[in-house]
Symmetry: C2
Subunit: 458 residues, 2 copies
């Protein structure tokens, strides 16, 4: 009853931008990986902050769940409406509101994607650096504290969100942060909202930090005989203070997958993909010093991407690693790990992961943002093979535990969602209870993205 | 009664490390600026996290207030025990616990000061960059989200705290964050605690990020005819992407105060103080490009500090600006503003502040971390002149309002404490209520640093 009353009030609010069409509901009940299908009762397409606020007030009055949806590219089921209710699709709030070029900031609505933003910024000399593989929405990226290949240089969403507008669980609209470069004015509500996965509020506007398009860029790929040599090259490069914009590891199987998907001919060996940004002189100096480290570590097959086109091809290939991996085993589904360990433990962690995957007789290419200590195994699973799924979950669980023992985290960038909720107690101990207390204080009815991140009380 | 019972239990716990000596209580009731004297009933000197936890449990059981104390260098009365109770002096928890050099991190107790830490790190090739003027404790710096002259390059405490151990208001001990370089594992409790000013928990251990001691350093001072020319030089330098490690503005009066305190002979003009860090080549390139900008803007009297000794003298002078300003007017007390505006509004904001101080017939030298858009006027007040104090408060209030109108914040780095609580509603609107909700959820008895940061309910 409550649901029907809410839906009827929402129809009055949104007209045909409240959809109960099975196609819409189906699409918003699916996910990119292995989580079960769970459709919402309706999909809402608000166009303004005020509409989001009004919608939340209606849902709050009737106790109806709201699950925000950006582009649906989460790998942890963040946008799956576990309890039905409303899927809040923010894709129509997709305007770049204001480019503040002399402050190197931009105000955007949450549905703007990172690629659309950078397209929009092209002529300004500025760019937004955070790049998870997918062309995700910036609201979703903030909500999941996303990062990517350039985080080693430019930081993650934690570092690149200056201010937010957020609709709370009771419909109040707040603004967090400011346009100043720093502030000591009270609790850091921006940081609290970034990574809260839609469980504390709905992001309706973001002020993002921009960076100058580098004067010079230089990218390269090189091969190593062993994963240890590749990873130790990363550790050495960091210790020497060589300023990298990107440093990515791909294992031998991924090199093979790249060849399949892109027609390249990389040797079947572990590789590093690297990029330097800066002045001509700085980039030349960094490239030279990095080349020396690689040579010392026995790296070879150095390929420099000198043109913009070659560079774009290189990083498109890297960003396409997930779909290319899925395509490597037709009909498979992916289970992706995301541990992030202290740099000093990285070689050990990647080697253990490789050994665990082999021991479990799984296919699991490994790629990683190794400059941050973060890497993924993409386990390619037959959806009908329950034992294979169990073995993959076991490998993921073992490696999550190992990451914590090494002082790391169970998720560097994909977030908790549904997939990693079982690791939260191990990672945070009583800190997880604190998260539950904060959630209960700000969303006492548990209507915002229920079933995610915090402990689920019966 | 409750208080006496608590004190007697605390005496059993801490022995003579619970002091009721008037000298101790007096010292912990004072502050660096103009806030009234308000002593605690006792001062506690815990030596372990477990003692802090036990102490908090005793105070919670008896409803006794706890105000953490680092070194007492706050400019906003953070450590003043407004409701008496316990001043929790963390100065005996002053051990550097573990230098994790290959991860460029260090674990410290909260009472370690920033200078002691850097002394300890000297031989490692690493350093901790955040430098508020005073030799503050790292726990206090985290609790107030401190920053300083190097924030333009290395960030503030927000960016340099990787993990914390915190004792909550009920005595529970939690660990936030991890040793990984990034994480997407749930709410960012580290960021919530950093800047919470002891109102949500007591920091008992910190894992800090370190940086490599730069291969080359180059520092300089140069003079400008007008403050506009100096500030526009900063804006241009940022826009050109010249990588600065420090860029500080001092006005003509501060140059005069430097001469008084240090026997220097700077012209009575606005100055910029700048520093570059990097490889020899990078520093040379940055210095040259900066020199060109300065020449274009009519800057002159360029003095390069080439030796370590000269550099240290330069930055000691800058860090000593507050006491030197106080000494400029013997017997005065300071009222320090701390607004931080978007870089695009900086010249305007500094000019308005200068005009307001002149119009109010006050003595108020201006210094600032202008690369961040943050600057201070140090208004030097006769403690017996009530009208002068009123005029200074009025200038501070006007400029806080102007900062918000410009998209800035009322405090870039000094925090809220007692001094800026009156601006919180203007800056945060309903966001301030959210802070109150979080405070009530984590400290329902309001025993942790009561009277600070959040709205005080009657």
């Amino acid at each position: 009853m409550a649901l029907n009353e809410a839906l009827s009030a929402l129809e009055s609010l949104l007209g045909d931008r409240l959809s109960r069409a099975p196609g819409d509901c189906d699409q918003h009940g699916r996910n990119e990986t292995w989580f079960p299908f769970s459709p919402p009762d309706a999909v809402a397409y608000p166009e303004t902050t005020q509409e989001v606020s009004d919608l939340v007030k209606i849902c709050a009055a009737h106790g109806v769940a709201i699950t925000p949806w950006g582009t649906g590219t989460s790998l942890e089921g963040h946008a799956v409406p576990l309890q039905g209710g409303i899927s809040l699709d923010l894709s129509r709030m997709n305007r770049v509101l204001e480019v503040l070029d002399s402050d190197m900031q931009v105000r955007v609505q949450p549905g703007v994607t990172r690629e659309a933003l950078n397209e929009d910024l092209r002529a300004t000399g500025l760019f937004f650096p955070v790049d998870p593989g997918a062309n995700a929405s910036l609201g979703g990226m903030a909500a999941t504290r996303a990062s990517g290949t350039t985080t080693v240089r430019y930081g993650s969403m934690r570092d690149n969100v200056a201010a937010l507008e957020v609709v709370l669980a009771d419909g109040r609209i707040i603004r967090t942060g400011s346009r100043a470069k720093k502030s000591a004015a009270g609790y850091d509500l921006t940081a609290l909202m970034v990574g809260s996965e839609g469980t504390l509020g709905i992001i309706t506007e973001l002020t993002l930090r921009l960076h100058g398009q580098p004067e010079a860029i230089s990218s390269a790929v090189c091969a190593f005989d062993t994963l240890e040599a590749a990873v130790e090259t990363v550790q050495l490069t960091i210790q020497m203070g060589i300023p990298m914009a990107r440093i990515e590891f791909v294992d031998a199987l991924t090199a093979e997958i790249f060849n399949e998907a892109n027609g390249t001919d990389f040797p079947h060996k572990p590789h590093l993909m690297i990029e330097f940004h800066g002045s001509d002189a700085a980039v030349a100096e960094a490239s030279e010093r990095f080349g020396e480290v690689v040579a010392d570590m026995g790296g070879a097959d150095f390929q420099w991407a000198t043109t913009t086109e070659d560079r774009n091809k290189l990083w498109r290939m890297r960003h396409g690693a997930y779909p290319a991996s899925i395509a490597h085993r037709p009909g498979c589904m992916g289970l992706v790990t995301d541990i992030c360990v202290p740099i000093s433990r990285l070689a050990e962690a990647v080697a253990e992961m490789t050994a665990e995957i082999a021991a479990a007789k799984l296919i699991g290419p490994i790629v990683g943002h190794v400059g941050d200590g973060n890497f993924h195994s993409v386990m390619l699973l037959d959806p009908d093979d329950k034992d294979e799924f169990k073995r993959a979950k076991s490998v993921a669980g073992k490696m999550a535990k190992r990451s914590l023992e090494m002082g790391g985290t169970v998720t560097g960038e994909h977030g908790i969602g549904m997939g990693k909720i079982g690791y939260m107690r191990d990672e945070h101990g009583a800190g997880w209870d604190v998260m539950g207390t904060l959630k209960a204080a700000l969303d006492p009815q548990n209507i915002l993205n229920p079933g995610k991140l915090v402990e689920q009380k019966p």
